[in-house]
């Protein structure tokens, strides 16, 4: 049975009782990100889909308040009608995870889900201004607010963002939105190997042209994008967005510099939009299999080194977003968690999250990067302060 509270008070009541009875709850929204985290202890499902709807939206203030279970699609449609967007481009995980259902905004923030623009415009957590949530005692807590600058008290908003439903049950979120860029264009540099692409992307980011997407799509994945329409060879893609007059000027400038790296071609608005949505949603690995998929966050210049090192020892396919700092990896067979994490440490640090794998593999693999002892102990103390009885998603994150 799934618990579906219809109001914040309902949710608080259920949680208060669960805490008293020591009953565990698995919190979720639309559950399209089922499978995130460690195989958790058995728990009763509780979702936020009964808390849905836009509470307050002032387009002129670029701020929206919605109940946590509101479908992302509904929010995007309302924003689009006012020519606004969520700048952090929340990824849709249904393809790669093989899940069904409707992603909710609560799920987006609970998992801190961002997309290609994240490396310049910030993550979901950077757009999140305020929240209401129920803590593990069944108390309704408000943190943050609805203004863009707010340093009043401890920033529990950041803490709850990305806590994967282990610290509290989100009931309402307030976030910043931005105007839709008037237009977008993508510069494609063809035929660069991973190392050369890393150099090209770093060079692009050093120019005053405001690149808002920088990805590298090696041969093995390139044909999967835009129905195979990208020019042959590896594709290093750079997105420019903004006022039309400005984008064309910047595109000329960027193309002129990139020609030193390889042949350059350009994609217009429509192809650009499709391409970046496919990158965002990890289209090449939305393959209906359970081959392990890793999401690695690392220093941009180290991404390709990590993949090169792994290739010598195991079967791995990979492509890069965030200037190389976000590496999507599909392993041929074994997830090779220890090997992967050893290399990440050797390359200066970062973290690997096992996104997809068979149940058998997941049962034996730490889904989230294990923290050093002192940080793990601190995190456990923080969890204890929000969920003293340990009823929210036990085992999912630790």
């Amino acid at each position: 049975m799934t618990l579906i509270p219809n109001s914040e008070a309902d949710a608080a009541y259920i949680i208060r009782n669960a805490a008293n009875d020591g009953k565990k709850l698995a919190l979720c929204g639309g559950n399209t990100r089922a499978g995130f985290g460690n195989s958790a202890e058995p728990a009763e499902m509780m979702n936020s889909t009964g808390l849905s709807g836009i509470v307050d939206y002032e387009p002129a203030e670029m701020v929206m308040t919605v109940k946590a279970g509101t479908p992302v699609a509904e929010i995007e449609a309302t924003l689009a009608a006012n020519r606004q967007i969520m700048a952090f481009e929340p990824m849709d995980h249904r393809g790669v995870m093989g899940t069904l259902g409707e992603p909710t905004i609560g799920g987006v923030f609970a998992a801190n889900v961002s997309g290609p623009r994240r490396f310049v415009s910030g993550a979901a957590r950077d757009s999140l201004l305020g929240i209401r949530f129920i803590n593990g005692r069944g108390e309704a807590i408000r943190a943050g607010g609805r203004v863009m600058k707010n340093v009043t008290g401890l920033d529990l908003v950041k803490l709850l963002a990305g806590s994967q439903g282990t610290l509290g049950f989100l009931t309402e979120v307030t976030f910043r939105v931005l105007p839709v860029p008037q237009t977008a264009e993508t510069i494609v540099i063809s035929g660069l190997d991973d190392a050369a692409a890393a150099k090209a992307m770093a060079a692009a980011m050093a120019l005053p042209v405001e690149v808002s997407g920088a990805a590298h799509l090696p041969q093995t994945v390139r044909f999967r994008f835009l129905g195979g329409a990208l020019p042959s060879g590896e594709a290093t893609v750079l997105r420019l967005e903004g006022l039309a007059a400005s984008v064309s000027v910047r595109a000329e400038k960027l193309a002129a510099v990139m020609e030193a790296f390889g042949p350059v071609s350009r994609l217009g608005l429509e192809e650009s939009q499709t391409l970046w949505r496919q990158i965002r949603d990890v289209y090449p690995y939305s393959d209906g299999t359970l081959k392990p998929v890793w999401r690695v966050s690392i220093a941009p210049s180290a991404g390709h080194q990590l993949v090169a090192a792994l290739r010598l020892e195991t079967g791995v396919d990979a492509f890069y977003d965030w200037q190389g700092g976000l590496v999507w990896m599909r392993m041929e067979a074994d997830p090779e968690a220890d090997l992967l994490r050893r290399y990440i440490r050797a390359l200066g640090g970062g973290h690997a999250t096992l996104l997809r794998a068979s149940d058998a593999v997941r049962a034996q693999t730490q889904a989230f990067e294990p923290a050093p002892d002192a940080v793990a102990a601190l995190s456990a103390r923080v969890k204890q302060k929000l969920d003293p009885a340990g009823i929210f998603c036990p085992g999912k994150m630790g």
Partner: protein
């Protein structure tokens, strides 16, 4: 000296052992890193919230993370309060010490450790000044975005403590949006690292929690910050209006139109006069309200944006439009704005409020603010970040007149409550410190505050880190 805001009662167990504590600290630090003579302690008795002063027990000025850890471990063992300090530019009293506290100053840790252009990061010690970072990388075409007005003096450690903002945050975000990692000493002396050159946290976002925690969760000794490629050009433009309402409505319209300038700054007539007299920036003196709107990018892009903004301003009866004609003029315009607090300090004592309100409420809050100020028989100069609703009324008073000072504090409190009631918050970028501590219940419920304090306990069970700040002194739950 004002005395409305109280501090925690000094711990007798600490005061009585003063000599022994200093002797012990002498063992932990080189002689040049410890200050304990009464006369030498005076510079540390307050920060930029000068109405309150407390002489600390001692001041430690460590040079290494290991020394910070040693001092922290020692103080934790003996229950000695620790007040972290960067450059002491806090406007909310965040760095004001107390009689039983050791001030932990990071000013000797002021080296830029690494600049990494391939990854667009700088790794710096906590005592590096904000402006130093941008100056170090400027020649290579990069900058560090958050730009508090005190950026010449304030340190990155202090910026992290307060999650500082600045004029250009409208486009680039505040400190928390530009911070990638920290090295930090926990209360028991353990050294941890959060984040790094990669994005987003593994596990809980402790980095996000630490940023803006006002030195209550640990001592940050190093930081990795994000660098951004400098725009091709930037152009500030002055827009003068006959009324504050017109200026306020113009701001809301600019943002609502989908144009996001890098900065939109507001000044009212008193502020214009004060800043012009100081900086000679060419601000128009015949208007009631002034907006400084800065756009950036290529010439074509700036032209296009400015054209649209001028058109919007026209609809709001703009009286003067003046574009900066040279880099020198542009610099003067910003010099005037960024010296606003200092220039005000030349003509009167002042306290600076920092509430943020929703953009649609700007005019309403400005009007109500003047009503409050009139009622108390005071004067106010308004200068603030209009694009994000972060208001800075500077309330002028005479510090030598205790009644005047008390009136100013009271008026300030009313203005902050007004900001909260209008849907905003007590502080947008200066922090709670001691200044707004006793107003926290106006913004948060008991349960909200208890939850924040509970999380604070997870870091510092005995409340020795900057203990008189942020949370009201009464009603703190037991561990």
């Amino acid at each position: 000296m004002a005395d409305t805001i109280s501090f925690l009662k000094p711990r007798e167990s600490v005061l009585s052992r003063r000599a022994a504590i200093i002797a012990d600290l002498t063992e932990l630090l080189p002689p040049e890193c410890l200050v304990h003579e009464a006369r030498e302690l005076v510079p540390f008795e307050t920060d930029a919230f000068v109405s309150y002063r407390r002489l600390p027990l001692a001041v430690a000025l460590p040079k290494t993370t290991a020394q910070v850890a040693a001092v922290m471990k020692y103080c934790n063992r003996y229950g000695i309060p620790v007040v972290p300090r960067g450059a002491g530019t806090s406007l909310s009293g965040g760095a004001i010490p107390q009689e039983d506290a050791v001030v932990l100053g990071l000013s000797k840790m002021s080296r830029i450790l690494e600049v990494d252009y391939a990854n667009r990061t700088a790794t710096v010690q906590a005592g590096v000044t904000n402006l130093n970072i941008s100056e170090a990388v400027g020649i290579d075409g990069f900058f560090y975005a958050p730009d508090p007005s005190s950026q010449l003096a304030c340190t990155i450690g202090g910026n992290i403590g307060m999650n500082s903002g600045g004029a250009h945050c409208l486009k680039y975000g505040v400190t928390t949006n530009n911070l990638l990692g920290v090295k930090m000493v926990l209360v028991d002396g353990t050294v941890i690292e959060l984040g790094g050159k990669h994005l987003d946290a593994a596990g809980y976002d402790l980095l996000g929690l630490v940023c803006g925690s006002e030195g209550q969760l640990g001592i940050v000794t190093e930081a990795v910050v994000r660098l951004i490629a400098k725009p091709e050009g930037a152009r500030p433009v002055l827009f003068g209006f006959d009324t504050s309402e017109h200026a306020g409505a113009c701001v809301a319209d600019i943002i609502g139109s989908g144009i996001i300038p890098v900065a939109i700054e507001f000044m009212d007539k008193p502020a214009i006069e004060i800043c012009e007299a100081f900086a000679h920036a060419g601000y128009p003196l015949d208007v009631e309200a002034l907006l400084i709107v800065e756009v950036e990018g290529s010439e074509a892009e700036m032209d296009a944006m400015l054209k649209a903004i001028v058109e919007i301003a026209g609809r709001h009866g703009v009286k003067t439009v003046r574009e900066s004609q040279s880099a020198t003029e542009a610099a003067l315009i910003w010099k005037g704005r960024k010296s606003a607090f200092g220039a005000t300090g030349r003509i009167a004592d002042y306290i600076c409020m920092d509430g943020t309100v929703p953009l649609g409420k700007l005019s309403y809050v400005l009007n109500k603010t003047s009503e409050i100020i009139d009622r108390f028989g005071l004067r106010v100069a308004n200068v603030f970040h209009a694009g994000d609703g972060n208001m800075h009324p500077l309330i002028l008073f005479n510090a030598n007149d205790p009644e005047d000072a008390a009136r100013a504090e009271e008026a300030g409190n009313e203005i902050l409550k007004l900001c909260v009631d209008a849907g905003g918050c007590l502080t947008g970028e200066h922090g709670v410190g001691i200044e707004k501590r006793d107003l926290m219940r106006h913004q948060y419920s008991e349960a909200d505050l208890n939850q924040q304090m509970a999380v604070r306990y997870a870091f510092d069970e005995d409340w020795i880190l900057n203990p008189s700040k942020v949370f009201p002194l009464d009603g703190r739950p037991a561990a």
